[in-house]
């Protein structure tokens, strides 16, 4: 908690510093009579809405058995405004607001006698504000941002800073990003495992739940390069370090003696992802987008993921994009199914940490007519995308997403 207070203080100071530097950048210098203040202008806005539905029979709340049925409706809007300061650096401000509302069958099993518990359906709200300052002459970009996320049993505060430098010929770019998320997890245990004096348990007494910290820090570096007039690639590597309470208090684990316990996982996790992206414009009608990621962490999960998309341009303003993604991972060393744990130090029956592979496929289309979508000049582009996800442990899901770009 002491660490969190200190970090929050630094976050607040960083936010104030960012605000003051923005003010000074846009303030008029009276000694330079040729300078005229340039007002911030609307650049673009994006509206994204998705409906997600999943089903499976390995719910973590019930120890790796039971329904994983879940629906999630999410909507987000981001707005970008930008302007130039007296040194002709471009300042962009991106405000993003997202709202998710989900219902989950397994959450009702935290306290089966109280199936109208607050967590059977929940709403997550997550605003963020990012600022970037681009010097087009030098090819440099600095940026910083703040984010917040709130749901019934989880709060998250995030901060990031980033830097990018283009090569002299503007064909390559190095970028780096540092991020920190300071999260609080409410300790809502399964009803039969709650300590006698823990308070919370029924509807309306959520204030009685204690909470504990989960912090995530990440450093990410990337290099993007134009290879020729049709091909560009990017390499992206990162290190993510998590510390604190990394399990979830309402995940049950049944040992082989039928005793029930709360999931227990180590208090730190180091993740190392390395990704490669390559996009190629084939002829005049096809764009081939590829992505590959290799991932390793110290919980024993090694994974590979690859995605292939082909955009087929029916005409310059309309394209159809079928896509396919393959993913495989090994199990975390702390995972075992229902009633198979034998009493080791760490244990989980969360199938998201089990060995599996998955296939995700679907298609989307994009329209961006010169007169605007539906002849409305303000709607620059519309994208619709539908996907089906199938995991080898039986979990499957469907997602449909709509995106509108306003200019």
């Amino acid at each position: 908690m002491q660490l969190n207070k200190s970090l929050m203080k630094k976050l607040t100071l960083a936010a104030i510093g960012m605000y003051l530097s923005i003010l000074s950048a846009f303030s008029q210098n009276t000694s330079d009579s040729s300078y005229k203040p340039r007002k911030l202008k609307f650049e673009e806005a994006n509206f994204v809405s998705s409906y997600y539905h999943q089903n499976g029979d390995h719910a973590s709340v019930t120890g790796g058995i039971g329904s994983e049925k879940l629906t999630d409706l999410s909507t987000s809007i981001d707005l970008t405004i930008s302007g130039y300061d007296k040194r002709y650096r471009k300042h962009s401000f991106i405000f993003d607001l997202g709202i998710d509302h989900y219902t989950s069958a397994s959450s009702d099993m935290i306290d089966p006698k109280n199936i109208s518990s607050a967590s059977h359906a929940d709403t997550r709200i997550y605003p963020s504000l990012n600022w970037t300052m681009e010097n087009e002459k030098k090819g440099t970009t600095f940026g910083a941002g703040l984010s917040y996320s709130n749901e019934f049993d989880y709060q998250s505060r995030g901060v990031n800073i980033n830097f990018a430098q283009k090569t002299k010929d503007k064909n390559g770019e190095f970028s780096a990003k540092l991020q920190a998320y300071l999260d609080q997890v409410s300790l809502i245990y399964p009803i039969e495992l709650r300590p006698a004096n823990s308070g919370g348990g029924g509807e309306g007494d959520e204030n009685h739940y204690a909470s504990t910290a989960r912090n995530s820090f990440s450093a990410d570096v990337a290099w993007s390069q134009i290879i020729n007039q049709r091909l560009q690639v990017a390499v992206d590597g990162g290190v993510i370090y998590q510390k604190g309470y990394l399990g979830l208090p309402f995940h049950r684990v049944y040992f082989n003696d039928a005793s029930v316990h709360v999931e227990n996982l180590p208090s730190s996790r180091l993740k190392i992802p390395l990704g490669l992206r390559a996009n190629y414009f084939l002829g005049d009608k096809f764009i081939i987008r590829t992505w590959y990621r290799n991932y390793h962490d110290d919980w024993g999960i090694n994974s590979n993921a690859a995605q292939l998309e082909t955009s087929i341009k029916i005409n310059p303003f309309f394209s159809i994009t079928p896509f396919y993604r393959y993913y495989q991972q090994s199990a975390a060393k702390y995972f075992a199914p229902y009633e198979e744990h034998t009493g080791t130090e760490f244990y989980t029956s969360n199938y998201d940490l089990s060995k599996f592979n998955s296939n995700f496929f679907g298609a989307g289309f994009r329209i961006a007519p010169p007169k605007g979508v539906f002849n409305n000049q303000h709607i620059n582009a519309l994208e619709l995308r539908i996907g089906h996800y199938k995991r080898s442990d039986g979990l499957n899901s469907n997602i449909v997403s709509l995106s509108l770009k306003f200019k």
Binding site: Y102, S149, I240, I301, F360, R366, Y389
Partner: protein, 77 residues
């Protein structure tokens, strides 16, 4: 996957990346970038993929290096 396999994979990956970056690059002028500037040639994920990236980071053990989230938000269910 053992450490040796993982290292081999990293070396293979680095080799492919360095071959692409060092041997085949040609300087492309701004006026030659009409195909590269197509909205669908962007080297980042699409806006419409936002929720997909979220659910994948919740339903899979791996995350990062794809423009998706690396922390923040529970994904509890």
């Amino acid at each position: 996957m053992n450490q040796r396999k993982l290292l081999s994979l990293y070396f293979l990956f680095a080799l492919i990346a360095s071959i692409i970056l060092n041997t085949s690059c040609t300087s492309v002028k701004a006026y030659q970038k009409n195909k590269l500037n197509d909205a669908e040639m962007s080297l980042s994920s699409r806006k419409v993929e936002k929720t997909e990236l979220n659910f994948q980071s919740y339903r899979e053990g791996a995350s990062g290096a794809n423009g998706g989230k690396t922390g923040g938000g529970c994904g509890c269910n």
